[in-house]
């Protein structure tokens, strides 16, 4: 288990959007902690509530459109109830963020360097020159070659990978405690993705921060996260240390995900897809939201919502099956899966 100080402590976070079609239950009762020095991975298919979780934490959801419950303590202060001014000071400085699209952070019409300098001076009273020196240092730290020259370029003069680096530089300028990265490598090719993941990991160590990494790619979280939360239909299905969640997965949804991904290093004769499709978040199935697609559903699954419980060692999940039943089922599934390997 990571043992750094707890920086983010989220408890009972729910986000609902009242719409003309009904209430969208985008995030439903999430609780998790993120510690300094760890990468906390949030993984789930599209529409599972990952980005809404992120936006809620950053106070970027419109309070009039979204109904938010729960608490999200950052170093003890609740991000969900603090005054907008205080939140604005924290956001961008103590909690920084990066996204899939670098243009969400970099304005295409201004030089990269000028934007970095402005970002520093928006939060700190420092002379331009000094801010520029610091910006160049950070550009160098994120691996931009010839940072002094590239400082004067416009974002479009950077390649895709370099723009991603520039955005990370922007996030690191003010020495944040937490970096939230929402699908930071989704638009990138695999070799550039490898560079960016390595960079995020390196800055996490060098700057001694916590990283919240949001992605739909199980391989990415398995590679870089120490703690993982698997989301489905706005809820946490399973959560815990990476070795536990991927090595001894407990939830049938996690099993399904793991079995439906083709690997580069293993050929199986048949993938085992999860039948059906994710539910509408307006009409979330009663009981366990995964039950209509779950091959192991039984009595209580469509009646009673399974409690999200710690099964030991910080490995938590929400499923009605008993620990014994799970062990047997997973062993059976694995055996079938390995037998399919050729």
């Amino acid at each position: 288990m990571p043992d750094g100080e707890v920086l983010l402590d989220v408890s009972g976070l729910s986000v609902r959007f009242p719409t003309s079609d009904g209430v969208v239950n985008a995030v439903d009762d999430l609780s998790f902690q993120v510690r300094r020095g760890e990468t906390f991975g949030i993984v789930g298919e599209s529409g599972s509530g990952k980005s809404v979780t992120n936006l809620a934490l950053l106070g970027l959801l419109n309070r009039r459109a979204a109904n938010i419950e729960g608490t999200a303590l950052f170093k003890g202060r609740d991000l969900l109830t603090m005054p907008p001014g205080e939140l604005r000071r924290i956001r961008g400085k103590e909690i920084a963020m990066i996204f899939q699209d670098p243009f969400a952070c970099l304005h295409p019409m201004y030089r990269v360097g000028d934007q970095l300098v402005e970002a520093i001076r928006a939060h700190e009273r420092v002379p331009r020159r000094q801010a520029a020196e610091r910006a160049i240092e950070v550009l160098a730290a994120v691996g931009i070659p010839k940072p002094r020259e590239r400082f004067r370029d416009y974002p479009h003069q950077y390649s895709g990978g370099m723009r991603q680096r520039a955005m990370i530089a922007m996030a690191l300028l003010l020495n944040p405690d937490v970096l939230i990265a929402d699908e930071p490598t989704t638009a990138l090719d695999v070799t550039v993705q490898a560079q960016i993941l390595e960079l995020i990991d390196r800055v996490k160590k060098e700057f001694d921060i916590a990283v919240v990494l949001i992605t739909h790619d199980l391989g990415v979280v398995a590679e870089v996260a120490q703690t993982v939360m698997v989301m489905y239909a706005g809820r946490a299905m399973e959560q815990g240390p990476r070795q536990q969640v991927f090595g001894k997965p407990l939830h049938p949804y996690t099993w399904g995900l793991l079995e439906s991904i083709p690997h580069v290093d293993q050929k199986v004769s048949r993938l085992v897809p999860i039948e059906g499709a994710p539910p509408s978040l307006i009409f979330v199935p009663p009981g366990c939201p995964f039950h209509p697609r779950c091959p192991h559903r039984f009595g209580p699954c469509d009646q009673k919502r399974p409690e999200f419980r710690d099964r030991g060692g910080g490995h938590a999940e929400a499923c009605h099956l008993s620990a014994d039943e799970k062990r047997t089922l997973w062993a059976e599934r694995q055996e079938r899966f390995t037998r399919a390997a050729v």
Binding site: V190, T191, A222, V224, V264, L271, A277
Partner: protein, 348 residues
């Protein structure tokens, strides 16, 4: 038996125009001197990073683009210079499934119309409706949804519509260009399984394009790896992935996150420096030489590569394994770079 498709020296350069007079000031070297064949009933996978020329290759083969150089043979017949009219009878043999199940389906047509269009165009006799409903059933759609519109379906179901449309006239070749890239993993596996079972039932031949190396591995019998418009390695899937000979293939495979690093990023991997160079002005010699880790191992210096890598284009040839690679210094079994990617099978 003769291959279904043979391409030789296939090249496509897109002119770049500038100024009022639209003078040609250069070319995008999208596809350069590509040679391969696709056997009947097999799946040839085409992998490579975005912009390496995969989609252009596909469009050339389907004759949606005119080749700059080279030849394309279908069932032994040279179709490179056939006119649109001459191509028409061949159209039903060559079909395509696109990446985006949202924009590749006409939103104002019902499923029945979309899947039935090929029957109408080719003047096929008989009840289109029952043929379309059979197809819908075969690809896992409810035939009663014949009159529904694309927006009433989920992404995965829309891709099934795209597959049914491609399947309509019993084609011989289906080119799948990133057919599952827009889908979530749980749905992706459903579509991949569908494509594989259709191939089995209808003896289809696939050219399967994806940037996802795992997906390509799963469906392909043989795999071609492209870099900057050229094929750098081609061979049986197990050989190319198991014992890659081209340093680029090795780098690509080692970049795929698999979780082996145990959350610590400790796994050995080949991190390529820099980005893919511009196809407008590709590097001379081997296009991969500016980023090639092997060329640097050969000289023993991070700043130097062997002379032939810089000046001569390496031909695609046998390189010590069963596959072919275009490299002057292909990886050897004892190569440090190959050790990084050679995989022990999982679960053992």
């Amino acid at each position: 038996m003769e291959p279904l498709v043979e391409v030789e020296g296939l090249t496509k350069r897109f002119p770049i125009h500038r100024g009022l007079l639209q003078r040609t000031v250069g070319h995008v070297h999208a596809v350069e001197d590509v040679t391969f064949s696709i056997r009947r009933g097999e799946t040839l996978g085409l992998v490579g990073e975005s912009g390496c020329g995969k989609s252009t290759t596909a469009r050339l083969i389907l004759k949606l683009l005119e080749a700059t150089e080279g030849t394309i043979r279908f069932e032994g017949r040279d179709i490179t210079r056939l006119s649109a009219r001459e191509m028409r009878p061949l159209r039903r043999e060559l079909q395509m499934v696109f990446q985006d199940p949202y924009s590749s389906l006409n939103p104002r047509q019902t499923v029945g119309q979309i899947v039935g269009t090929p029957f109408a165009i080719h003047g096929i006799e008989g009840s289109t409706r029952s043929k379309v409903q059979d197809l819908m059933e075969r690809v896992g759609l409810n035939p009663e949804h014949y009159n529904r519109y694309p927006h009433e379906f989920s992404g995965g179901q829309r891709q099934r519509i795209g597959v049914a449309r491609a399947l309509a006239l019993s084609p011989k070749l289906i080119v799948c260009d990133e057919p599952v890239s827009a889908l979530d993993v749980s749905i992706q596996a459903q579509i991949l399984n569908l494509l594989l079972s259709l191939q089995h039932d209808f003896a289809l031949t696939y050219l399967f394009i994806s940037h996802d190396l795992g997906v390509v591995r799963h469906v392909s019998d043989r795999i071609a790896v492209m870099y900057l418009g050229r094929i750098v390695e081609i061979g049986d899937a197990g050989d190319v992935y198991g014992v890659p000979k081209h340093p680029y293939t090795a780098a690509l495979l080692s970049a795929v996150p698999t979780g082996e690093a145990g959350g610590e990023m400790k796994r050995e991997r080949i991190i390529l420096s820099g980005d893919v160079p511009s196809p407008v002005d590709p590097p001379p010699g081997c296009a991969f030489h500016p980023r090639c880790p092997k060329a640097r191992l050969v000289t023993g210096s991070p700043d130097e590569v062997p002379e032939n890598c810089r000046t001569e284009i390496p031909p695609l040839r046998n390189s010590g394994g069963r596959q072919q690679a275009a490299c002057w210094y292909p990886l050897r079994p004892d190569d440090e770079l190959q050790r990084v990617v050679s995989h022990e099978p999982r679960g053992s």
